[in-house]
Symmetry: C2
Subunit: 824 residues, 2 copies
């Protein structure tokens, strides 16, 4: 039964990829329009590929260096106290993750650059046709990402189970297999970071640059063929919103499943049909089912008439797949999981039920839905937040900016309350596993989410091509209709992405604590609190670097466009073609150059903190990054979205204090300023926060086995006591009193030592309890942490929590082991 | 000896107040200029007083309600498990704190509204004279704040020691005295919040409103007498920058000293000359000395010639008082403290030395200095950050905003690293007491800091009066010189204020943990993590409300000014006087109305979270608020400061890409937008963060005794075990196994219960250890947590950490107490 379902997982991924190929072929078959349209589309496609090639070249070096480093640390075995279970194979896992992530972006972008012009052409016929082409383009992206993720994870897991000869869940072999599998996620998420940041800088440098000179200075419309930066702008939609978003969600998807698997291996699910593997397999199977139901959901996305609501059709598909997945998980959970499960190490959490797991999945679905709805409220036209920005545009640029910043800051309140509720709820139902599976449930319909997301930039591009090709008003009307819906879905997609990143990070955080061998992250300790501060600061410097990069690159773009207008005569009269490729080159170069530093900070800071200060301080830093990153991500994304739609509202005219204002009015100019400020917020730094927090968690997870035991983080509670775990009862039993030393002392000497080290009275008492009535030292008791939860016969008392598989603790005084204990 | 120094403390405060009165009389004696100047100054003074009266009226209700509530909870005694040591007297303490805080603001504002016009008049003679008048005005404010704080705290402490008959440091009487004293800090900080937020909204609504219509629309200079909002703008400088800043620093000053005192009562300083009181007295004595050395420092602030540097004179005074205080604390610490100190409850920290305390003070002074320097770098003219904003002004409003936001975000990096280093350093030297005393050391020269700070708005006002009175260029030149220096000191003052708030909050945080009876804040627990998220969100909603309030009030102001220009003929030709008082009324009304909601959130949210979820979740929330508040405070203050100086740089002309731009150029207009956005950032929401984080900590500290024991925050580690502390060894000894129940069970039954409750193997082992070889339950051991650190004779093992004063734990099975134990 275990093997059947094990092979079913990659098979489901393959189904997704086959459907993707069919849809892709269908899109390619569609009419690509007249020569002019094809030429423009060709320029966009070439520009996009040029960026990908440039990015891949840099990332190639990164992947090689990363793989070598991973292979090297994979050979380490750790100390006897803190054994490491890894293998150099992790390097291969990393490379595959990186390649799959790049592939996911590539598939999406290739189809997007085909679907855009075909959507324009379809819009000449009908809205229904245009929606079909653009949404099918998006679907290809969604299915590609989900299919590759499931096939990759499932396939590698089968391979690693075989390679490391895993028989039991609670075994060092399984730990090795899972640790090696984290390499896949690390590879995927690293590429995602660079794709998101690089793509984000690219698209906004082009967009801001094009707007500033084109719209503001030269007074030509957006997407005007005379603007030298217009091709770069359209390329940007593809590299940022399609490839970047795809890589981002690919990373989240993989990381969520993986984190749940890591926690799953800590769970005693004896009595299931899968040899105890069910908690590990469950997230992959849910993902596979979610993929199937996403395919089903795409059938609902269709309209018949010009006046049908596109948004409704998309909602129907989205809701269909979510509800189907929710219902299916009930049966899946009942079938796969035993009724009750417990943690092998009971300190990790209480017992929970299969219905608790189902409830946690529902919590995840609800959190994801609420986050999307709240994001939509804060960024949609006609709602209070956007209306307030419009009103504040009447008094100028500055008040428009103040209004947008205020809306963005306000917009974090409800999502955080929902998230906090979701954390507590899913934890209540199934402990830490519940938090992770909630994230997995939320991410199950990623294929559908991404299809809806990627549809947006395709429609946007289609409109751009229609404008540049000077097609009839009617065509542009249809693409505008799709584009407007795309703006809303882009906003809700961002809400979904940040919620998923937050839950994923929490799941990774929980997994990290398990693997790094700490049992608390106590912010009351000064170094941990310092870690929290430093972690909280990182999203600020990351955002600062990202938006400054956009500012700089946009200035380069502005100067280049001004130069072309000045030096190439006849551009404005359509007599000469601008040098589009120079603008493309500026964006490409800037984005590649500027993505290095933020990426490096993300990757290196957890390594430095982890190896110098140890896992508990690193845990504090991760918490800081997660909280601050989620807040900054939502603040920036929502402010940007609200500014964007405040500006868009002027197209149909807005009423402020009884007067109606249209485009080119003073308030509209103020709203353009807000939109331009919002551009890097919502498309560069804001969404990068997702990957920042996930990637730092994954890096920490990968290094967790190596830093276990580093750092006297517990400066006053006794982690310096090397043997405390072997000999004490509570985990902070004896403070700094070293039993090895006490063993050579009299009771009075040991008491003096405890005092001098600042042990408190209970710690001291624990030390004293090792002296017999005669005042002589007696060796500590021995005990097992047996996987069945039963203690050894005899004077069971103490054991090492960290050691798994029922291994006995070693008595330092005499190293015999009780017969009931299994050898490691 | 104890009494001598006890009475010396308020005496030092009185010295400060006497010097203040002398300086105040000197300023009042100075020439107030011609009739026109006096009339303008009179309008400003009346407007300021009108605001204070309106504010006091609202705050009067608040103080009465707050006092009644405090008196009521002061009567509660808590449960036997968690006794509360308080008294209804806390209400009186609260009222005195509130009144003193209001008085501090009032003193400062009254002298500032006198010093402004006298500075203008003095500037007709010489720069030296103008500096003398304006700096003496600032000194009055500084001495008033520090003198009131020291006299209030010292006097109340003497009164409470007598009232509650405190004899020993480790006693419930002392706990009561200190808890009641926290009321003083709560009163002070509550008033500070409203003063800062209300004042901040007032000043920026007037400033933004005046700028938008005056400078931008009507094209008249700042402070032009024809602008109806100009008086409101000048009033704003006094109510926001003087009264608000004064109340803020008064609050920080009191809170820091108090937090150190709270921690001081936990320290065993046996062997000092003050009956063990030295760690409690030390922060007050340091503050008193700092006040004296601040008076000494003011002597250095003088110049002789027109070309002398005002900044240098101020620096000399500042450095003088800091160095003198640092040197003096060496002798003070050596004299007052015993060589070695330990914590009564050893779990709170390791032993430390008096030299460690001195080192921690130096860490505090260094952190404060570095924070000021870094802030100056990020906001000063001619440095990279401001220059980068200037450059980005060339491409328009949007890039200017992007540049400023980017600078603001970047500016948090170094301060956070300094702060993290400061936390670790001071903790390393003297544990939690070190963190608190570092903050106290930093705040010691508050009088000087505030003198320098308050000098800024006085000079600003003086310039305004010179402009409005159309005095000669030469006079305006001198006031501009002072004003420019004032801008820099305002920025560094904000850096100092946020650093002090951060350290103060940490000290309060440490004090809170001690009083609420928890011994860890484990963010790995889901509810605590949820608390961290919610806490992190609060600075965002607070900022959002504050800047939105400014936006709204500024719009009202704009509409009123437009109306006056339209409806009152002859304003622009100086023929009719604008209705200044209407603008003053708008600002006053708006600020009072808008300060309520943010204030309520700050005060109520810790109460709700504390009473529902208990101290550990509240601790998580406090950590979230502190980290996020410090980051948002620095981000906003520094971005605002940088924008301001980027705009100011245009006055002398700036070079961008080889061209020089002056005022009224396009880049200058863009820089005005940035400045306007920065106004609420740097003067409303940014500095409010200080008070937000301090006040939430103080509220938590006040409610801490009442929430001890609330909330099953430890959902999986056994806090449900009512008797675990009485009977277990480590603090999480036995998981959920209730010893009361086990006492009625056989060993096997108890084992089954442990399993069913999810206890882990060590917890279970702890339970099992209570069964004898015959399988029967035996009562647990009894032990003391004696204050001298020695355990009871006999089989000492377990005790309640939370109970102080050497009280024995009660054995639930048989309630005898060992003879060595003291009664509570």
């Amino acid at each position: 039964m275990k093997d059947t379902i094990l092979y079913l997982i990659p098979a489901l991924g393959l189904v997704g990829l086959i459907v993707m190929a069919l849809k892709s072929a269908w899109v390619s078959k569609q009419d690509a329009g007249d020569e002019k349209m094809q030429s423009l589309a060709d320029k966009i496609a070439k520009g996009a590929m040029a960026f990908l090639r440039a990015e891949w070249k840099v990332l190639g070096y990164f992947v090689i260096i990363g793989a070598l480093l991973l292979a090297w640390i994979g050979t380490m075995k750790g100390s006897p106290e803190h054994p490491v279970h890894s293998s150099p194979i992790i390097a291969i896992s990393f490379i595959i993750g990186a390649v799959f992530s790049a592939l996911a972006g590539y598939f999406g972008m290739r189809i997007a650059t085909k679907a855009n012009v075909r959507t324009t052409q379809a819009a000449r016929t009908s809205l229904a046709k245009a929606l079909k082409v653009s949404f099918n383009g998006g679907t290809v992206m969604g299915l590609g990402v989900a299919g590759l993720a499931i096939m990759g994870l499932g396939g590698l897991f089968i391979a690693f189970l075989a390679m490391f000869k895993v028989v039991e869940v609670q075994s060092t072999e399984m730990m090795t297999a899972i640790e090696v599998l984290t390499g896949f996620s690390l590879g995927a998420e690293s590429i995602a970071l660079f794709a998101r940041v690089g793509g984000g800088i690219y698209t906004k440098a082009a967009d801001v640059g094009a707007d500033l000179v084109g719209k503001v200075e030269a007074g030509i419309p957006e997407d005007d063929v005379r603007n030298p930066a217009t091709i770069a702008d359209n390329v940007g939609d593809n590299v940022g919103d399609v490839a970047g978003m795809g890589a981002d969600l690919f990373g989240s998807y993989v990381a969520t499943i993986l984190a749940t698997m890591v926690l799953g291996q800590e769970i005693n699910a004896g009595g299931d049909k899968f040899g105890g593997f069910s908690p590990i397999l469950l997230p992959m199977v849910i993902a596979g089912l979610g993929l199937l139901f996403s395919i089903v959901g795409t059938w609902f996305v269709r309209i018949k008439n010009e006046t049908d609501s596109v948004q409704k059709a998309l909602n129907l598909g989205n809701w269909g797949s979510i509800v189907l997945t929710g219902v299916a998980s009930y049966f899946l959970v009942t079938w796969m999981l035993p009724e009750k499960m417990s943690w092998f190490n009971a300190a990790r959490g209480a017992e929970f039920t299969s219905m608790g797991v189902f409830a946690a999945i529902i919590v995840g679905l609800v959190v994801g839905t609420l986050m999307s709805l709240i994001t939509e409220y804060y960024t949609a036209m006609g709602k209070r937040p956007v209306l307030s920005i419009i009103r504040q545009s009447a008094t100028g640029h500055a008040t428009n900016i103040i209004g947008g910043l205020s809306v963005g800051m306000e917009s974090v309140v409800l999502p955080i309350l929902v998230l906090a509720g979701g954390i507590m709820g899913s934890y209540y139902f199934a402990g830490l596993y519940g938090v992770a599976i909630a994230a997995a449930g939320m991410m199950a319909t990623t294929a559908m989410q991404l299809a809806i997301d990627a549809f947006g930039p395709i429609a946007d591009n289609a409109g751009g091509i229609a404008e540049m090709s000077q097609l009839p008003e009617e065509v542009r009307g249809r693409t505008d209709n799709l584009d407007a819906v795309g703006n809303t879905t882009a906003a809700t997609g961002k809400g979904f992405a940040i919620a998923s990143a937050a839950l994923t990070s929490l799941a990774l955080f929980a997994a990290f604590v398990g693997i790094s061998g700490i049992d608390a992250i106590d912010i009351y300790k000064a170094p941990v609190l310092a870690g929290l501060f430093v972690g909280g600061m990182i999203p600020f410097i990351f955002s600062s670097l990202a938006i400054a990069a956009v500012g700089r690159a946009a200035m380069d773009m502005v100067n280049e466009v001004r130069r072309q207008f000045r030096e190439i005569p006849g551009i404005m009269e359509y007599k000469a073609e601008p040098e589009y490729e120079k603008c493309v080159a500026i964006s490409t170069k800037a984005s590649i150059r500027e993505m290095i530093l933020p990426g490096a900070i993300t990757l290196i800071s957890p390594i430095i903190v982890g190896f110098i200060f140890g896992p508990e301080v690193l845990g504090g830093m991760l918490a800081g990054v997660t909280v601050s990153g989620v807040l900054m991500g939502m603040f920036q994304s929502n402010a940007g979205g609200a500014w964007d739609n405040a500006k868009k509202s002027f197209e149909k005219g807005v009423e402020i204090n009884g007067e109606t204002y249209y485009k080119k009015s003073e308030p509209h100019k103020a709203s353009v300023t807000g939109d331009t400020v919002g551009d890097p917020f919502k498309d560069t730094s804001g969404p990068s926060m997702n990957i920042l927090i996930k990637l730092m968690s994954i890096v920490s997870l990968v290094i967790a086995p190596y830093i276990a035991g580093i750092g006297a983080t517990d400066t006053n509670k006794g982690s310096n006591c090397a043997n405390k775990e072997a000999c004490s009862m509570g985990h902070n039993g004896m403070g700094k009193c070293d039993m090895n030393k006490c063993a050579t002392m009299s009771k009075a000497e040991c008491a003096a030592m405890c005092d001098s080290l600042g042990c408190d009275s209970t710690e001291k008492a624990a030390c004293m309890s090792h002296y017999g009535a005669d005042g002589k030292f007696k060796a500590c008791d021995k005990a097992c942490c047996k996987s069945d939860g039963k203690a050894c016969a005899g004077d069971a008392a103490h054991c090492k929590k960290k050691e798994m598989g029922g291994a006995c603790c070693k008595d330092t005084a005499n190293s015999e082991e009780k017969p009931c204990c299994k050898k490691k």
